[in-house]
């Protein structure tokens, strides 16, 4: 089965932060937690580029490798999700993740972290699809509704692409060929072992 991926075309991203805002709003993400963020490289210099980054839903996800309670699982679409009932908030995943995806609400003293929260690829969690319990813990399940992640769907410049990895790679490849340049599929080599070659 195809693997769902994100691809941020940095040559199109205008750092408008709409993906960040849309994600927070769609899933009612609490204060202090950002499932998605935009990072600007070479800020203010020639060749400045912005990349919208969230969980990349890696193959052989390092977060799952270090999780002491095995709370991670992968869906048939290749989306890496986690079970908040099993999560103990140890924080190991956040130190294993190359993309800074896992987020923790601080809930108590001694640095006690609450349950981990991260991008679900708008695919909810282990609870029944589109149930209230699922919404409260993980946010909306757009994939179950037949929709793609909101961040990519509403990106004004179509910089952020979401969908079947092969299809979005083709779209990106076509763009690079047409316009003659491309800064690369950011994070793909780290997440999937190979990048999009043109």
């Amino acid at each position: 089965m195809a693997r769902m991926k994100f691809l941020c075309d940095a040559d199109r991203c205008i750092e408008c932060q709409a993906c960040v805002t849309a994600c927070k709003n769609e899933h009612e993400v609490p204060w202090g937690i950002n499932r998605r963020r935009v990072i600007t490289i070479n800020d203010g210099l020639p060749g400045e580029r912005s990349v919208s980054m969230a969980c990349m839903h890696c193959t052989d996800a390092p977060c799952a490798a270090v999780c002491p309670v095995n709370c991670f699982y992968e869906t048939d679409d290749g989306v890496v999700l986690h079970n908040k009932d099993t999560c103990i908030g140890c924080g190991y995943c956040s130190y294993a993740c190359p993309f800074g995806a896992p987020q923790f609400p601080q809930t108590a003293n001694f640095g006690t972290r609450g349950k981990m929260d991260k991008c679900t690829y708008c695919a909810g969690g282990p609870e029944p699809d589109m149930s209230h319990a699922e919404y409260v813990k993980y946010g909306a399940n757009r994939l179950a509704e037949g929709k793609l992640p909101l961040c990519a769907e509403m990106c004004s410049t179509k910089a952020l692409l979401a969908g079947d990895g092969d299809i979005i790679a083709d779209i990106y490849r076509e763009r690079v060929v047409t316009r003659g340049y491309g800064s690369g599929a950011w994070g793909w080599r780290t997440a999937y072992g190979d990048t999009v070659t043109v």
Partner: protein, 330 residues
């Protein structure tokens, strides 16, 4: 400012701008100047790709940190294997030792006469350290091997609840452990300074491997000194790295935190193995040994065999006391 000087300034400004304009308006070739992932990776080596982000957490300003994956392998596989083998290995060695040597008996038999070895304060410190250490070790071990041992046996829900409570216990019991560790150092450090007797004890293998061999020792023999220093140094290392794990903000970068976690896991595995041996020799491994920390009073013959010089010290001190007590009456 007169109208002429204003005009002069205005002309000057236009002149400067028109000279600078060709540079500013030149077409920037986005292909040439844009940053590409491949070239950035090449330039940075394994260092993280960083930039600026507008969300409040400044630490979120890195884009890709490939190094985190190496720690994931270290934690997920290497430390997992080391921890399991440290525990299984030590249990196997002790089982073998028990089969060959059996329970170490008091050669001269029990005398029935008891002498005080550890007073209430010493036993309180020891048992506070011991109980907290055992819970810390078990809950810590659960984080490493629980998913391959307890999870298949009890299922995700039970294992999740158990691990949550385990983590809370680990975070909070660390503090009484540290207090007891300080107490142990204050109480026993004077008795644990290495000296010439220890060399002799080690040469004779502590009498562990041969019946009837009893090298002389004061309050603590070389074996016990090894346990003491392992616990003190290992415990201090665990405490320091543990505090860094509890307050990740204090630890520094992700690489620093990963370093502390690795040290924490390695020292914990080593100290757990050492303590398993300590528990063995203090309970089923040796007749009469448990009394020292149980009631605090040991059999005199046991004491003579394992701590001959200490018995003499205690006896002469007692004689001295009774003599002193007798003198004022003169």
């Amino acid at each position: 400012m007169t109208i002429f000087s204003r005009l002069f300034t205005a002309f000057g400004l236009v002149l400067v701008l028109s000279l600078g304009a060709p540079m500013a308006s030149a077409q920037v070739n986005p292909t040439e100047s844009s940053v590409t992932e491949d070239s950035l990776f090449e330039a940075l080596g394994s260092a993280p790709v960083t930039g600026r982000t507008t969300i409040p957490d400044g630490k979120a300003g890195y884009l890709i940190n490939d190094q985190n994956k190496s720690w994931a392998v270290l934690q997920g596989q290497t430390l997992h294997t080391i921890s399991i083998w440290a525990v299984i290995g030590m249990v196997a060695i002790l089982a073998l030792f028990y089969l060959v040597r059996g329970k170490i008996r008091v050669d001269s038999g029990l005398s029935g006469h008891k002498i005080l070895r550890f007073n209430g304060v010493e036993r309180f410190a020891h048992w506070t350290l011991a109980t907290t250490f055992i819970i810390l070790a078990l809950t810590g071990l659960n984080l490493i091997i629980g998913k391959s041992v307890i999870l298949p046996l009890f299922g995700e829900a039970t294992f999740g609840t158990l691990s949550t409570w385990g983590k809370i216990a680990h975070n909070y019991l660390a503090w009484p452990f540290m207090v007891a560790l300080v107490l142990i150092v204050l109480l026993w450090i004077v008795h644990n300074v290495p000296n010439k007797l220890d060399m002799e004890w080690i040469k004779q293998g502590g009498g562990l491997f041969k019946k009837g061999v009893h090298p002389p020792a004061r309050k603590f023999n070389a074996g016990q000194k090894l346990i003491f220093w392992s616990v003190v140094i290992g415990g201090a290392a665990l405490s320091y790295t543990g505090i860094m794990l509890l307050f990740p903000g204090e630890a520094g970068t992700a690489a620093d935190w990963q370093f502390y976690q690795t040290i924490h896991a390695l020292v914990a595995a080593a100290l757990s193995a050492i303590v398993i041996a300590h528990i063995y020799i203090g309970s089923v491994g040796m007749e009469g040994a448990f009394d020292a920390m149980g009631s605090g009073e040991v059999d005199e013959n046991w004491a003579k065999e394992h701590h001959s010089l200490w018995v003499e010290e205690v006896k002469s001190a007692k004689d001295g006391d009774s003599k002193q007590a007798a003198t004022p009456a003169e």
